[in-house]
């Protein structure tokens, strides 16, 4: 028998955990301000319990060797599946962090070049067209047309 647990069990536990944490946070509020979020959190906990119950059912099926159907974007999470999305996230985090230091356009150029490299793009033309195209679009629409003051960074301040 497999010891595998369906991911809904974890989801349900997280939902209940978050509900309890936030419920405790409402204790510092006056009753009038706390009542509405407390009501929502009770509801959220109930949904968490339902998700756990469903998760128990699905775990039983998994252990019986049945293949479960996943709809739309839903998929069993594992390291192999999460690797690329998490690396993407890490690159985005570094990009956003760099924005304030080196400015929007240098950070965007750096980000795009490294992300295209990560996505195994080899054609130099693709690099040039994508990077120049997006930066030009952002400059014309957001800077020129919408007057957005994008972070200038250390080079242009």
């Amino acid at each position: 028998m497999s010891s595998k647990l369906h991911q809904d069990l974890y989801v349900g536990v997280i939902v209940i955990g978050v509900s309890i944490f936030l419920f405790i946070k409402t204790f510092g509020l006056i009753e009038e301000a706390a009542r509405y979020p407390q009501g929502l959190l009770v509801l959220f906990t109930l949904f968490g319990i339902f998700i756990i119950l469903k998760g128990i059912k699905k775990t039983k099926l998994l252990r019986e060797g049945e293949e479960l159907k996943y709809d739309g974007d839903e998929a069993p999470l594992n390291i192999k599946l999460l690797k690329s999305p998490l690396i993407t996230l890490a690159i985005v985090v570094v990009y956003v962090w760099l924005l304030s230091f080196i400015g929007f356009f240098p950070a965007t150029i750096l980000f795009m070049a490294s992300y295209l490299g990560y996505m195994q793009v080899k054609s130099w033309k693709a690099y040039v067209f994508t990077i120049v195209g997006l930066n030009l679009f952002i400059y014309l629409v957001f800077v020129m047309q919408l007057n957005v003051q994008l972070p200038a960074g250390i080079f242009f301040e």
């Binding site: 979020p37 339902f50 999305p85 990009y95 965007t108 957005v148």
Partner: protein
Amino acid sequence: MNAEILGQVIQNLLSFQTILALFLGVFGGIIIGALPGLSATMAVALLVPVTFGMEPVAGLTMLTAIYTSALYGGSISAILIHTPGTPASAASSLDGYQMTLKGQGAKAIGMATISSMIGGTVSALALLFLAPPLSKISLAFSAPEYFLIAVFGLTIIGSLAAKSMVKGLAAGVIGLLIGAIGVDILTGYPRFTFGSMSLESGIALVPAMIGLFSLSQVMIQAENRGKKRKKISADAMSGKVLPNKKEFKTVWVSILRSSGIGTFVGMLPGAGGDIGSWVGYNEAKRFSKNKEKFGTGYIEGVAAPESANNAVTGGALIPLLTLGIPGSSTTAVLLGGLMIQGLVPGHELFTTHANITYSVIFGFIIASLLLGVIGLLGARFFVKISGVSEKLLAPIIIGLCVVGSYAINNNIFDVWVMVVFGVIGYFMRKTGFHPAPVILGMILGPIAENGLRQSMLMAKTDLLTYYFTRPISVVLIALTVISLFSPLVMKWWEKRNANNLDDGQETKIS
């Protein structure tokens, strides 16, 4: 609508910004719909910041044009490579792809374009004539009804957006909880701010929308890194784009019927383009003299779902503009775009802001017609566009996510909000939740809370008894209960479609 408003509408529509917005909206919408993995919802979320700085008429016209054009754009890959660009195009792939295999890909695209144009225009006209009288219902609304309409809106989108109703409703509650972050307006107490000043004004809607729909989508696409995808063969677009007279004669009744069906389905809260196109397809098959030809590459099998899925757009805008109930994820995001422009759905849209609303509706009619012209003229170009690699699109989308989140308040904090919501959106989607109810919860949360608190003051005694003494409240409670049972009806529809699909395949084999 009187002559004075009509004059203002014409003036608004003839402005350079609106004309440009219309062309860009239609052109951009078709491209986004045609691109792999990009949806109308994501396009609207990504472009709300661009429209924020525009005149309301131009901005909202652009968003509605993107909405209808992206639905059409999704049919290109459905027809040519059997991969629907949007779920609403799945029905079109049945006969459309068979036509491509027969060397009639160009004709299938042409038929899809014309049908989408007619469907969109019919529904836009329905919006023009039905929305103003229906908006009067909102005049009878008071605090209890506003609370119930928020609950109703959340239950329909929650029960239909995700496969699991519990997860759909839980996502709605997540949105309501996020909507509660910040200083409570009535008491002045900060809630869930954890000492952060930036959170005192609450979570900004636009960065949250962009993160939930766009960044999460890029993360999902990143899963395919290193994998090869289906390519459109060079001869897929062979032959003529325009169908001949004889073919038109066989499909025009189906197009009109499906346009009506699509508009009606769109008006039903929660039933989006995917359901509309399947109903349109099934009804066309039921009424057709050539039932056996469906599923084998029959032109009517393309015309019916395509006119129906575009007709859904105008229909879905009716409950959105009149009552503030979005029926699908795209209209939920559109509601955000509307609110950002300072426009609140209801009767005021057709009185105080009549010149803006009617301009947007007329703009929507023009966009639907323009879709046909641009779609037919640029068919071969759009087919090429749909072959662009996801690898190149991903950094472009991320760049737009960052600049769009920043542009709303010129604030880096909002960019971090977008990133956090991107992560939340990704994990929600991978675990069977849908992000649409979260956005709706964020929008409707404050309305629901104010409505509830005010009705508690109005009730004086028992709140439930008070609600049941108000006729509109009773209707809304009944509708909420019905919406909770609607997934069962949907399951029935899906079963019926699956049976019809099997019939079609059996016919093909025999």
